[in-house]
């Protein structure tokens, strides 16, 4: 909105030369003949000595540390197979759960079709993924509903330091988990769930333009007839 818009707003297309003086090629870029080019459609960001392209579209590709919402698709005697909305199926080993699972007893804990909140522990060269649910914050999700958004929109949905999620929670009072893989679980009273769902759709359909937080705040203030208490904050396009 100010005239001196930083260059990072710029939308790049595969093959665009990036101005990477003294910077290293980050994600979404590649190096050819000592120059850095964009490898995908996105917005240029310079951070910690790297030039990278923040994608505006694309499938979810798992990265270690991502919190994801997965669906059990199959089970073995000591593991479950989890659909994490990516090209790669992810096994969840029975040891990576908070339970003491006996060999062959996996179906007493999680069945096909159930939904879990888990973490991506590791992704190796061959894109073999490992999940973990051992931490306290993770577990099975029961009740509520799941919405899907484009994984590229997840950082906007979270907002800088979770500001967008905080805004949605403040008004709608829903319980909400946002998976990096583009799945969102919400639960609460029907009205809150409805408004949260509308906002999530709004974010999913938004373009790369600024003003999203304003639009969301305006919608929620109109819907609930009261003002937001949290001060306006910057969104972030970084990952959490």
């Amino acid at each position: 909105m100010d005239g001196s818009a930083p260059a990072r707003r710029e939308v790049v297309i595969p093959g665009d030369l990036l101005n990477g003086h003294g910077l290293k090629p980050g994600s979404g870029t590649f190096n050819e003949g000592g120059r850095i080019y964009a490898a995908r459609v996105g917005i240029v960001a310079e951070r910690e000595g790297f030039v990278s392209v923040i994608p505006l579209s694309g499938r979810y590709v798992p990265r270690p540390g991502d919190v994801i919402i997965g669906k059990i698709t199959d089970l073995g005697p000591s593991h479950w197979l989890v659909d994490i909305n990516s090209p790669y199926p992810a096994p969840l080993n029975a040891k990576e759960t908070p339970w003491m699972v006996e060999f062959g007893d996996t179906d007493r804990y999680l069945r096909v079709g159930e939904v879990i909140l888990a973490e991506v522990v590791s992704v190796d060269e061959a894109m073999r993924v490992q999940l973990s649910m051992a931490d306290r914050q993770f577990g099975r999700l029961t009740g509520g509903q799941i919405l899907g958004v484009s994984p590229a929109k997840v950082p906007r949905l979270i907002g800088r330091d979770g500001s967008m999620v905080a805004l949605i929670r403040e008004f709608t009072n829903v319980r909400m988990f946002v998976g990096q893989n583009g799945r969102i679980w919400i639960d609460g009273d029907p009205e809150g769930v409805h408004h949260a769902a509308v906002v999530i759709r709004m974010i999913d359909e938004s373009g790369p333009a600024p003003g999203l937080t304003d639009a969301v705040r305006a919608y929620l203030e109109a819907a609930y007839g009261r003002r937001a208490t949290t001060p306006a904050e910057r969104d972030d396009d970084g990952r959490h």
Partner: protein, 276 residues
């Protein structure tokens, strides 16, 4: 077989003044229109009109490759299906893959496999679907050009867009971008696809005969045209992704506005800095 009754016997595909049947000169393209992101369910898509060609391209993936034995543990497969709708030509085209469309699918897959960073997505496939809705010669070029935009729209990492165009020979003259009549009654047609930034050729075919000199001329015409088409592709993608951002920026440029113009914001809240 085709509706050729409207073509007089002693037809000249290009007259003494160098004007072709549809009024173009030897080095002119047909009008081209590209739109990115037209399908909701696909990861990426594009619709293209190139003269009387109408082509829709959809991209899915990277996704788990099926059947499993096709999976490559080191890289992604790029699989393309080029298909002509039964109603795309004057005589009904028998639906389903035929010798021609299988060949076109193969050469287009290979063209894209050389620009996509396939090693970033082992064991997956990137599926490209090209549907020709209306055909008027040059559909493989149109399909490839549209599919390239669809790939970028799908967020698939790649070295560059691929731009494609055909040249041929009509009435003894080397000419760019043949239409149906020129293709049917001309002497040669030579489609090609390039990676504009590096100039690499990723698809090159020829139907008919050209001398070495004529071939060089045809290549020069196609390469120049492909560069024009490349700009149209980039423009389509920018329109898809930057329309809102650019509108906001242009607005800011037009009026060096008060730096804290309130945008439908309650006055008692601190003004939003600048989100994104």
């Amino acid at each position: 077989m085709e509706d050729i009754e409207h073509i007089p016997k002693e037809l000249k595909l290009i007259d003494e003044k160098g004007i072709r049947l549809d009024g173009r000169r030897f080095n002119e393209l047909r009008p081209i229109k590209i739109e990115a992101g037209v399908l909701k369910k696909a990861d990426g898509s594009a619709y293209m009109e190139w003269g009387n060609n109408k082509v829709l391209a959809a991209v899915y993936g990277p996704r788990e490759a099926h059947p499993r034995h096709l999976q490559n543990p080191a890289k992604a497969l790029v699989q393309c299906r080029y298909n002509m709708a039964p109603f795309s030509v004057t005589d009904r085209k028998r639906p389903g893959p035929d010798r021609r469309s299988v060949e076109i699918s193969k050469v287009i897959s290979e063209a894209f496999a050389s620009v996509v960073f396939v090693e970033q997505f082992p064991r997956t496939s990137v599926d490209i679907y090209i549907e020709v809705l209306q055909a008027d010669a040059g559909t493989r070029c149109a399909g490839l050009t549209a599919a390239s935009v669809a790939l970028a729209d799908a967020g698939i990492p790649m070295r560059d867009l691929v731009a494609s165009c055909a040249s041929g020979k009509i009435g003894g003259v080397v000419a760019l971008d043949l239409n149906k009549d020129e293709d049917n009654f001309g002497e040669a047609d030579c489609p090609m696809a390039i990676v504009p930034r590096s100039g690499e050729i990723v698809l090159l075919q020829m139907d008919g005969h050209l001398t070495a000199d004529e071939f060089d001329q045809a290549m020069d015409l196609s390469i120049n045209a492909a560069k024009q088409i490349y700009e149209l592709q980039r423009d389509a993608l920018r329109r898809r992704y930057a329309s809102v951002a650019e509108a906001a920026e242009q607005e800011a440029m037009r009026e060096p506005a008060p730096s804290e113009a309130p945008r439908e914001m309650p006055p008692d809240l601190p003004p939003e800095v600048d989100d994104l």
